[in-house]
Symmetry: C2
Subunit: 422 residues, 2 copies
């Protein structure tokens, strides 16, 4: 019998019928003797509805100022969810109590609409658990030191669940969602994609940031930092499946490196077609040049992903990076008007029709030749590699977007990902 | 320039367009130099929508236990309203900040779904006002000593507004609603009904409790007790009418008895056709008989309105009272099975087809013959009076419901209510 945190996403909470199913599932775990904390999201569509009302009243461009009020409004979605889930649990005969973020309290900084959790007071929750109650805590929200309501940004409920799990020292944090786990790659691209039974936190971080949008990346960082085992599993299995089966379903994200030893070198293929690449050619290679180029971009609030600068020739080098495709035109304009003149770049070129494909695997640390095998596979398919970056457990290439599916399928097959590890 | 509290009902907050109008109206007052606190209700329909979701999940009959969760859910309606109104005010260029009940805090007892306000900490509000901000406070809700969210029951936002006005020592509390004031009687029954420019708190209490559903009765009690002038006025006038005109519109509910001296003896005719009368005939007239009859009724959570017991003859008396018509059958059954046998009543009779008509006026205190004039008027119309009760400023009669309109019109005319007072 363990202390467990369950997290249910907006789709799982999308109607009273679905909330009743969540309650039946949680009740099953509680009756089996587990101490249960549940962190639900707002009912699907509710956060958008609320922010849509606010958008109708806010003048364009004034969003900076009204973050505090947007958080007041958005936080109500989860508050409704916890109340409804507590009532549904009571209807199942399970003692349950709901808390908004400020009631726990979950204390955050004051960065409205994207706050970060600073601390969680676990005492009230622990006392309720000791009294035999299921505790239902609103995800996505907290309260700052001045007593203002804050929210953690989209997907923040995952982070709430993990942070609560850390605070109460839960044995595991189970993230119920509308997929049944983490796959070797997107099954829509590679039908042979296989669900991973386990994945390391580091791999999951690379997979998440590369577009496997199963979990909010901050929640994975958090879980990894505090060593809370995370499990991603489906909320659409029948609520009354046996606990023994449910407890090992989905994908376990773990810090146990031992388990990984037996596994494949490459765990998955991630990809992202939302990016655009930009290159400044022949810039003077002197200290501060990277900041001179990317400083104005960061100031314009444009996120940069891949950054590549190779060795220089005769004091000049080429500087490349990628941005979200939606920011491509704005970034090009910004560079043309305020960066190119100052850096003396010979040319500015860009391409929005690219994609990034990555192989991810903790085994790459100890196995040489993984990257070169990737390049060989792409070469065999006649795919030209435009950019390359690597990290300890990831190798990414930028290629023409029309080759994306071909590249992902070829790599998935070449690294034997469709078969279970030995 | 004064410190004022504005309260806007759910209809006034019913859409983003209407919220924008509220913001423009409040902005007009703020720009004129007034310190403004605004207490809005939830958008119309929202509280019902939220409680409807909860009702789908709660098993029938378990409502006693889940009051705490119902309040968590229902309170979000007003929280959304304050956030939206603050954003709309900011869009008008007015500095504004919103607060949920727990943030002020508005402290209540723990009677979930029908809590009573115990205290309001005015310091945060006062500091914001001093800093030139409009303060928007969620109506209908508070927080108990244990940090649980509570609500004040239907119409509770009126009480919130008055309580806030008391706490901040506002010069006046303006209740914006969908009617333009308090009338001498219901204009749908008497087209000549006239809007009262002023009415005393005591008269308003009698009018409110008798069915002029303009204000929650507790808010009037509260305002009277703490001597805060209340004004009921329409939120459907154009937002940009001159403040001088708006400030004297509607009906002022006042504790200034002086103003009343010039006015009519009778201020209005109230009526209620939701009641049913019940009589126990020939009960033994001994100490405790009233409690013996009404104790079981109260225990069954049935509200009793009028209660009449006349002098007894030969040790026996008739005991009559009225209940809401919806409770009629249940009350009759209860009396038949558990009261009649014990009290030795000779007979139990009842009639759900009655109505109550009342004349209300603070002038009745000092003028004899007002009640007898009422009886004379009804007699001239051939209306039989079934029951009579009186208080200091009110005389009520129970009559057959088919005579209600006739009685109200005749009384309205006889007491010269269609004409303005001299």
């Amino acid at each position: 019998m363990a202390l467990l945190v369950h997290k249910y996403g907006g789709t799982s909470m999308g109607s009273t019928e679905r909330i009743r199913n969540v309650a039946k599932r949680v009740a099953k775990w509680a009756r089996a003797g587990h101490q249960m904390v549940v962190v639900p999201s707002a009912m699907s569509g509710e956060t958008n509805r609320l922010l849509g009302l606010a958008a109708k009243l806010a003048p364009a461009g004034a969003t900076q100022d009204n973050g505090r009020e947007l958080d007041m409004i958005a936080a109500t979605g989860e508050q409704v969810s916890v109340g409804l889930l507590a009532i549904a649990l009571q209807a199942e005969g399970i003692a349950a109590v709901s808390y908004a973020g400020w009631q726990v309290p979950i204390t955050t900084d004051s960065a409205f609409t994207k706050a970060r959790i600073k601390s969680i007071d676990e005492r009230r929750v622990k006392a309720d658990l000791a009294a035999g109650k299921v505790v239902v805590i609103a995800g996505f929200q907290g309260v700052d030191a001045q007593g203002n309501v804050t929210t953690l940004g989209r997907g923040g409920s995952d982070t709430s669940a993990v942070a609560v799990a850390v605070a109460v020292r839960a044995a595991e944090c189970l993230i119920y969602t509308d997929v049944d786990g983490v796959y070797t790659t997107d099954p829509r691209v590679v039908p042979e994609a296989r669900r991973l039974k386990t994945i390391s936190f580091e791999e999951m971080l690379e997979m998440a940031s590369l577009g496997s949008k199963v979990l909010q990346i901050r929640s994975v960082e958090f879980a990894g930092k505090y060593r809370v085992p995370l499990r991603v599993l489906s909320s659409f299995t029948p609520w009354d499946i046996a606990i023994e089966d449910e407890a090992v379903s989905g994908t376990l994200i773990t810090f146990e490196e031992d388990e990984k030893m037996e596994q494949a070198i490459v765990s998955g293929i991630a990809f992202n077609r939302d990016e655009a690449k930009i290159s400044l050619l022949g810039v003077t290679d002197k200290p501060g040049i990277a900041h001179q180029i990317l400083g104005p971009v960061a100031q314009a609030n444009i996120d940069v992903d891949v950054i590549i600068q190779n060795v220089s020739h005769q004091g000049r080098t080429d500087f490349s990076f990628t941005v979200h495709r939606n920011d491509y035109a704005r970034t090009m304009e910004l560079l043309k008007t305020s960066v190119v003149p100052k850096t003396g770049a010979a040319d500015l070129i860009g391409d929005p029709k690219i994609c990034k494909v990555s192989i991810v695997g903790i085994g790459m640390r100890s196995h040489v030749g993984v990257a070169s095998k990737m390049f060989a596979v792409l070469s065999e398919e006649g795919i030209n590699i435009q950019m390359i970056t690597t990290s300890e457990i990831k190798t990414s290439v930028v290629i023409d977007e029309k080759y994306m599916e071909l590249a992902v399928r070829a790599l998935h097959k070449a690294f034997d990902l469709e078969q279970s590890p030995p």
